[in-house]
Symmetry: C2
Subunit: 363 residues, 2 copies
């Protein structure tokens, strides 16, 4: 299948099973979902030493078997699972599940790395992108919130530009893929597209705000009294929290597009000090996790399909914003299930495990 990662279980049965007697005991909650499966892949790829792995989901999926790098695992019901003895629990089973189970996870002394929006706004819990504020992991919080997918990729670039020239104003317009709503979001897009190609008008979407076949929809999450959507408010709030910049002015317009995987964004930024396009590209390319793909070679820029399956976030079309004297515009693309979700969470897990094992409290 051309659209590969979504449809295939990438692990094969005959691989060597990972064994690390001194490693971590890890639980993945929501392991059968689009992000959960990528969490398992990232745990393997980033070589977090794992002593014991539990895969959890709702009672509906309990009893199924998942093939993992640590052998076949039976999906357990998260509702009845005992988190005692678990070192790290990665959550991606929805906000309600995270809110419901958090007290039990904290009570068990387990680190909760939460990919939902449940704790992102809580002042008590850090919101972490390891390349930016990974130092907060060393403080050993009980919960570490994983930011919103569209925010993570953007803040990597904003951090690089803030360090290079200081940033004040950010205006972002997103092109977000249907996998942002999980596997059911992808399935809805594909089903609707097939129907449209067969000449039928797709029924109203049960997953997205509107039918996604051959249309773009400027609504992700509920429309709020502010005039913004929930997704837009997430980007505005989380960007400030992650960068530690309460004063940063951020405007976001979030649009769902008929793309399967990876989010693309157009970002307008105004810097305090003048910075050339070449200097900006250099700063962006030097940032961990970012890759400028064009290096001023005309015609080269990243797209969503290219970013699929990549750990790096790709930047292209960096250019002058003629509206502002210190304005820049750039295009940034990242796999929303990887750096936008599973990869960032597993990077946090790896850093937390290193801190726990080494007894360090600061990097």
């Amino acid at each position: 299948m051309w659209i590969r990662t979504i449809f295939s279980q990438r692990l094969s049965m005959d691989r060597e099973i990972q064994r690390h007697p001194d490693g971590a005991h890890v639980a993945v909650v929501g392991a059968t979902g689009a992000v959960g499966r990528e969490m398992l892949h990232c745990l393997e790829a980033l070589k977090l030493p794992i002593r014991s792995l539990d895969v959890l989901a709702s009672s509906r999926s309990a009893g199924h078997t998942l093939d993992t790098a640590w052998g076949p695992k039976t999906v357990q019901d998260a509702e009845t699972f005992d988190f005692r003895g678990v070192d790290i629990a990665l959550f991606s089973a929805g906000k309600a599940v995270s809110e419901h189970l958090a007290p039990r996870v904290l009570e068990a002394g387990c680190l909760m790395i939460d990919n939902t929006s449940a704790f992102r706004r809580a002042p008590k819990w850090p919101l972490v992108v390891p390349e930016i504020n990974g130092d907060l992991i060393a403080l050993r919080p009980g919960i570490i919130a994983n930011p919103n997918c569209s925010t993570i990729q953007m803040v990597l670039a904003l951090k690089a530009l803030d360090d290079a020239a200081g940033i004040d104003d950010v205006r972002v317009v997103t092109f977000q893929s249907c996998s942002g709503a999980g596997q059911k979001g992808i399935d809805a897009l594909l089903d609707e597209t097939r129907q449209a190609l067969e000449g039928n008008r797709p029924a109203a979407s049960k997953v997205h705000a509107r039918t996604m076949a051959f249309d773009v929809v400027p609504q992700i999450g509920a429309l709020l009294d502010s005039g913004n959507t929930e997704e837009e408010e997430k980007m505005m709030f989380e960007t400030r929290k992650i960068l530690g910049r309460e004063d940063l002015r951020v405007a976001a317009t979030c649009v769902r597009v008929p793309v399967i995987r990876s989010h693309s964004e157009v970002v307008h930024v105004v810097t305090r000090r003048h910075i050339t396009v070449e200097e900006a590209e250099s700063a962006l390319n030097d940032m961990a996790g970012l890759r400028v793909t064009d290096y001023r070679q005309k015609g080269a820029y990243p797209t969503a399909v290219q970013a699929e399956g990549l750990f790096d976030t790709l930047v292209g079309r960096v250019r002058v914003d003629p509206v502002a004297s210190n304005g820049l515009i750039f295009w940034i693309v990242s796999d929303n299930l990887l750096k936008g979700a599973a990869l960032n969470a597993v990077q946090i897990a790896c850093a937390a495990w290193n801190h726990a094992r080494n007894g360090k409290t600061h990097e």
Copy 2:
């Protein structure tokens, strides 16, 4: 077919054939293309009185028959056509054809309404959106340039806001449909999408900058040394020319999306005087050709599929831009083949014919 207008010849054979002995002699050049066919529909819908109609295209299409409201018409070869006696020629057969034939059209004393980019930048010829600078039609220029599709819909809104509160800064990000590249642009999207759904990787696109199936592509037209694409430079230049605002600061980022028809845009605008969202919506809705679809009702906003086939341009999600003290953000959607091309050209034709018939030189 759900996606109706592209695939169906909407005219039926048994309709009453239009006859206006005192009407205009009109030629449509590029009549077999996506825009040309919509020009014929718009000529009928706007009831331009037509005495005689010629449908022209390249020699490849010559000899075919088109069913029109003025009876079946044989497609003639534009290269060998004699424009003498023709009152109005509507061109949409590509920039090279317009440049090549313009001297003969002017020599024949025929008004050329040109939908290509051939004459848009020429100081000698007006670039017209009738609701904005229709007064230029009364000056009886030999050529009237029809603006770029993505520009027309935006300037309608900018004109309304400029009159209401004065505008300084404009930043637009577009979501442009594949029909912007004509019928072959639509066919490419549908073919590529079918291939992807069948599990095959689509071949490199011969029409669009990249393969469009389930991807978004930040390139329309060539990438220029400025870092902008041709499409972006068109939006920046044409907006200033149409509004007569040399000083207006405009930034454009143009993105092709896997949508069949209608362009969507996110526009950030900074006004000189403060204006509330309600006042902005009122000004936008009062503008001819614009319709604000939500009127502050949450959950209602236009999308590309909804705009298909509509003459009105639809505005939604008008809200405050938190980055600027007098900033507004809005979402605007229009059928790129209608107001973005054929409808605007035919509106110009109707106004020009009224001026010619009434002997008026100013409205």
